[in-house]
Symmetry: C2
Subunit: 219 residues, 2 copies
DNA sequence: CGGTCATATGACCGACCAGTCACATTATAA
DNA sequence: TTATAATGTGACTGGTCGGTCATATGACCG
């Protein structure tokens, strides 16, 4: 955890440090990320950073917390009507996740690295994180299947895997499709000119997940 | 490219060096991967390795070549009957890819890192590699659509993305489902007891891609 | 035996790393 | 003003890194 000193910092300075740290950890592995680079970029002395954070891992964990917090925040902002079908809800979730990934690409990247790359976190925790998304989807699918919205013969785990696979790469796909680099989007702070495009893209994607690519079988 | 000296090495020694290098580059980023670790593990002097390879990048590129070569080899071994439908062909491709990923997890991991992680390769080349798989699928989908095997209203690019997303994580999913770690499978050299299971898994997956998860619409 | 050539070796180099600490600077209070 | 506490600083340490090179080893040949 950061020290009290860190939170007493002027807002702009604190933010500058976090930005530089995020940049470095988004661009590099935990091992490759360089504290020396971060302080040089932020224009502070190395000793200062070690007054704010215990060590490299402490800083890294704090960034991860920010990522998780921001993601939760955006996911919990999805509107949930009561009579919603499974695929309608999925659409909302994809939307929220797309916003998160497009607006905070560095946070998203750090989070991704933490789960799928190397990180100083205990392996047990990583396995749990990896599983949690899939387990969550598995639950949703199971429920929807019992309501009859989903074919009775689908393998729940396979479906859950399908969703997570699509989600983990959704951000880069969308960025590519709307022709803006992730950095541009983050710089703009929003993508108002493109929201309709983005919406159309993952509507299409969910349609594929719901109905498949094949021509309807006549059996 | 490795020097002639490297190819003159006794087979077992050469293989040991490659194994250790693969292990290191599979486990680490290009930057984090350590030549010192590799030579220590392989039991050779550092100077020796630099007689075989020009530098770290040279060694890395050679490993990548091996990965590409092995993948091509396994993909081109898929049986292709003439009257095959799109989804039948897809099944064959998934099968070949699953074998590659399960039998050579380290090669697969190095290849994955090269495309999606950091690597010393020119950015242009990486972008091309990233696109090539998607473009390939886009072509297949377009052709299948013209033959009427695929719904006329699917977005070709979205479909291609869907396939690549599923494929890039297929290996780890399968390994998890059949309850063997990737290392165990590689150690065994095959997974004879599980082939039926594996087959069933990606049949299920392709079925989802073809028909979707949703209950058939009655329109 | 000596001579020649391919190969093996590990001490060594400069660069960079995470992290420390004695000291300098600034803010606060008396 | 001075005393005290909080914050800022960057040279320094011990270590690892990729890469080099003078030297050692061994194989083959005459």
């Amino acid at each position: 955890m950061p020290s009290a000193t860190f939170f007493n910092l002027p807002d702009d300075k604190r933010q500058r440090i976090l930005d530089c740290a995020l940049e470095e950890f988004a661009r590099n592995d935990f091992d490759s990320a360089s504290i020396s680079q971060i302080v040089a970029q932020a224009g502070i002395a190395k000793g200062s950073l070690y007054q704010y954070f215990e060590d490299k891992t402490d800083l890294y964990r704090y960034l991860l917390e920010l990522a998780i917090q921001k993601k939760r925040e955006m996911m919990s902002a999805v509107p949930t009507a009561d009579g919603q079908t499974f695929f309608e809800m999925l659409r909302s979730m994809f939307g929220a996740l797309a916003q998160y990934e497009l607006l905070y690409p560095k946070l998203a990247r750090v989070g991704y690295r933490a789960v799928y790359g190397k990180s100083p976190l205990p392996e047990e925790m990583l396995r749990l994180a990896r599983r949690s998304t899939q387990d969550y989807f598995a639950l949703l699918i199971e429920q929807a299947r019992q309501r009859g919205e989903i074919r009775a013969d689908v393998d729940v785990a396979a479906g859950a895997y399908l969703f997570t696979a699509v989600l983990t790469q959704l951000g880069s796909y969308l960025a590519e499709r709307i022709g803006m680099s992730a950095d541009e989007i983050a710089a703009t702070g929003s993508y108002p000119l493109h929201e309709a495009q983005v919406q159309a893209q993952f509507n299409q994607m969910i349609d594929l997940l719901e109905s498949g690519l094949g021509t309807p079988r006549k059996d």
